[in-house]
Amino acid sequence: MTEAIYHGEPRLSAPVRVGIEDPVVFGALVDRHYASLLRYLTRQTGDADLASDLTQATFLAAFRARAQLADEGAFPAWLFGIARNELRMEWRRRRLRRFVSLDWLASRAGAPPPVLRAPDAVAACHDRDPIQRVLDELSPPLRDALLLHGLCGFSGEEVARILDISPAAARKRIARAEAAFRARYDADGGAGRESS
């Protein structure tokens, strides 16, 4: 499977689609964009399993809504916009789940169940991956802009389309995100640690 890096390759606005209504053609688009979408969602969530689920949900939602794609050449930007929606719904579901206090649960059930006694997966991930730790410290809008531009290779105008803001606002947000990432990464000693 080829890697869908958009810098230096046919850009997102390239005509990627001939008959997107055809499930076979849509399947080819899945093959083409699967790895890059999974990579984006992995960085967004910091959880490989959750990213796989969201990738699947994104393609399914895109397939159901494919008739709404006005500009057929803008499929990747449209797809990543759907992925952001899926991600947002997932965070909303998780916020709802947080209403159950673990302390309350422990007081009701005695010792917490094994799954809750397991080491914090997020902390373990941060120990392994300093870049993920820095990304998680960014605000969601800045992290989104940075990943779409820096990781996925979308141009400023394409990021604007995905985020539904003006190109100028998108570029300013990307610039702010890069500055914030750089500052936190350097404050974290990231560059020194990576090079040592």
Binding site: M1, E3, H7, P23, F26, G27, V30, D31, Y34, A35, S36, L38, R39, T42, R43, A48, D49, S52, D53, T55, Q56, A57, F59, L60, F63, R64, L96, R97, V100, L105, P113, P114, V115, D129, I131, L146, L147, H149, G150, L151, G153, S155, G156, E157, P167, R171, K172, I174, A175, E178, A179, F181, R182, Y185, D186, G190, A191, G192, E194, S195
Partner: protein, 241 residues
């Protein structure tokens, strides 16, 4: 990995967002030319441009694209199911008109039997392993009972089973004892914890749905499923027909 330290000697002549549009090649020639000239004379701005490109490179190097053929096969299967459902919805009149004839034909060909399984007739389907709430893997022989409501995956492209179960599942294929086993892990829900037996049973149903719905896997009577591309006639576990 390279450093992304920003140059300390900063020049504000070209704003950050303008430099970004320049790097993305999104500026018209009239606005691009002065930046070209400025960059030729300003090492600080050249460093800013290089630092910007280093961030993107660093993110991409630290996050290699991850392809998962099994997960991708699940996406394709989900799309096929969605396409099939859509086709039925588009031709409701045609389907309604053809249904009596199809049923009659099925009864005639089926030697007087109805064309759906008898609920009392339990058919061995395949063996899966499901993890119970304690985390231990439990082998489960999944049987088709003929209850369509039990076998229909709902939402989440087959990864969530049972619309009212409140349970979520992760599905994977693993090598076990020389055969490929479909494993289903129930993700515990903190909101609606289900009894252990219910969770395991629903997980088993999810596995059954998945094996039936994914054309990349072939059910081999009982015992195993094989991933796409593997010769289904040479499984680790022989069919039990």
């Amino acid at each position: 990995m390279t450093s992304i330290n920003h140059p300390r000697d900063r020049c504000r002549r070209v704003p950050e967002h303008e430099l970004l549009a320049y790097a993305d090649d999104e500026l018209p020639p009239a606005r691009r030319a002065p930046i070209d000239r400025h960059l030729a004379d300003c090492p600080a701005c050249r460093d800013r441009l290089a630092a910007r490109r280093r961030i993107g490179r660093m993110l991409r190097e630290a996050t290699p694209p991850r392809d998962d053929p099994i997960e991708r096969a699940l996406v394709h299967a989900a799309l096929e199911r969605a396409a099939a459902r859509r086709g039925w919805r588009r031709r409701p009149v045609l389907v309604a008109a053809a249904l009596p004839f199809v049923l009659l034909l099925a009864v005639v060909v089926g030697d007087g039997r109805l064309p759906w399984p008898d609920p009392s007739e339990v058919r061995p389907a395949l063996q899966v392993a499901a993890r119970d709430r304690s985390g231990a893997w439990q082998p489960l022989t999944v049987c088709g009972s003929g209850n369509a409501g039990d076998h229909r995956p709902s939402g989440g492209a087959g990864l969530r089973a049972g619309g009212n179960s409140g349970a979520t599942f992760k599905v994977s294929l693993v090598e076990a004892g020389g055969s490929i086993v479909l494993r289903v892990r129930a993700v515990p829900s903190r909101c609606r914890p289900a009894p252990e037996r219910t969770t395991a049973a629903t997980a088993a149903r999810a596995a059954y749905n998945l094996a039936l719905g994914v054309p990349a896997y072939r059910s081999l009577g009982c015992g195993a499923v094989t991933p796409f591309g593997r010769d289904p006639t040479r499984p680790g576990t022989p069919p039990c027909r």
